[in-house]
Symmetry: C2
Subunit: 357 residues, 2 copies
Amino acid sequence: MANIVILGAGVMGSALASVAATHVSNNVTLIGSPLDNEITQSINHNRHHPTLRVDIADNITCFAEADLPERVMQSVDIVVIGVSSPGVSWAVDKIKQFNLSPTCIALVTKGLVSTDDPHSPPLTYADALSSELDADKLLGIAGPCIARELALGMPTFVTFAATDLALATQVRDVFQTDTYRISVHPDFVGLEACAALKNFYCIGVSAMLGAWQIEGQIAKNPVAALFNQAVNEMNIVCNWIRNGADPGEGSTNYPGWSNVAFDLPGMGDLHVTVGGGRNSKLGTLLGQRHKLSEIVQGPMKGVTVEGLDTGRQLLRAFDSAIASRSLHSDQLPLTTAILESIASDSFFEFDFKGFCN
Amino acid sequence: MANIVILGAGVMGSALASVAATHVSNNVTLIGSPLDNEITQSINHNRHHPTLRVDIADNITCFAEADLPERVMQSVDIVVIGVSSPGVSWAVDKIKQFNLSPTCIALVTKGLVSTDDPHSPPLTYADALSSELDADKLLGIAGPCIARELALGMPTFVTFAATDLALATQVRDVFQTDTYRISVHPDFVGLEACAALKNFYCIGVSAMLGAWQIEGQIAKNPVAALFNQAVNEMNIVCNWIRNGADPGEGSTNYPGWSNVAFDLPGMGDLHVTVGGGRNSKLGTLLGQRHKLSEIVQGPMKGVTVEGLDTGRQLLRAFDSAIASRSLHSDQLPLTTAILESIASDSFFEFDFKGFCN
């Protein structure tokens, strides 16, 4: 049994609450941020989650932040930061405000943060938070996981990563169900990097959904070719972020390399991300030769596209990394093309001749 | 310029002929097997390929086997074995009959062949042919490549593999176009193993398309989870076939391992294979709880399903490999489940609890 507090009552936080509450011995509390008031009201009114569109189990206790009794923040074993990126500072504030000292702080939020040094790779949120929170307690969650499917009990595989593998194993036992299957991995930062990067690469792969058609049907070869390319480039960029150093020859056999890009946090999650969601929608529109600014001021106005934010963080250090040969542009034609589309406010066109010259 | 003879005028052989003929300096001859008579007649009548449903360029010379003039089989630089598996022996016979001695014999045909030894992994077609043909000249072609899309100029990436990398590079230069982009690799047998195995794993991944739905829509998490699992298991089984030995701990960093499963011949081709074609149709029906025998005697009667044939070849050695610990069943839950479905003539049901115990 564990006392689990989930900060953020959006779709992903609430779906994870549903998983945790499958184990009736767990004590699960879902806490809405100031942006989640409609959700927490709805759950407490009739147990229905309006954006996830599922009913929330009776053994999940739900509070709006403003109504939070002090007692529920005592003896917390596991805190899940379940907000999307704009809510991270709110979640960190709550951990500090209530002096929470859990065994584990699990991160669902993904993203990259630029450093002041234009020559350094961006940090993952995880790295950025490790100075504010106890780094040894941080745990990353990644893998193919559409929140609504999770809440409805569709099976999936995910990875829990923590530098301390014993912690990851312990927390797995609290969350794992018959359909939510969890592998553990020690590469916490690599997993967090992939979790952010997959949204970025999703834009480029999804552009193929918009760019190539035969008799009104989407052509499959270009999508698969760029999917494969995306995973291979994600591996290189992930290791650059992890190691902050020369990621070598682009081989997965490079000493010290991690393979998370070729597993659930990279390949697996990218598979589910292409063809659904905001990143894929942006990519598809870019592939249909709409300019980036036309999209974000038009059909996607006001929508947070995490892969676009990730691309902007990558942009700041990318040219410098190419110039210093920390990264090699001939290995990264897709990365380069997505970044160029963002930097030059253009539509997305991939020059296939950039591969295998 | 190269003299290229393509044996087999089916969809894949003809699509590759179209690619080769993009270079007007190439001299491309397409030769129909005795099963291709309708196709060669149609091409020579009005240049239309009836199964590929595209027009064939005028600079491709097309013959039915029976009308083949001796002169076209002289000074052949590259032979492409472009038939599906039942046609391989015909193609090999032609090479012998005309004493062809090309620089390169490129294989499009994929499959596995059991050995007499029940303890040995099956051979790839490539290995089986290397005793009949000059092994140094064999070249494998794999990657995401739906034939009709190829013939219509949709872009893709593929890999050419030959033990002699210089040969692969030389042949790449003959075939590569602006949209048919080719990487080269020395792991010929690994590529051939993946090319066969991807059809087998496609059955298991596609079963998820039939098994899990939400409000009439296919759930995406189970498909992505098993896609990821399939690539990881393909890597293990590929290396077992390549090395005929203990493939170790399942890490891609294992010395001597090849990464082709995590690249175009494995991951990339599996991506395009799931959701289209015969293997995927069989898998989807198995996932909808139809028994194998009901499918192959019913809606798919008379249809060659290459992944099913590959599974039958794997079956003969699999139990022995598990018993001798050359393979480890806890690393291969998906492989085991597909093989069980074939061996026991059942529908396909994947127990997600088999992952991460």
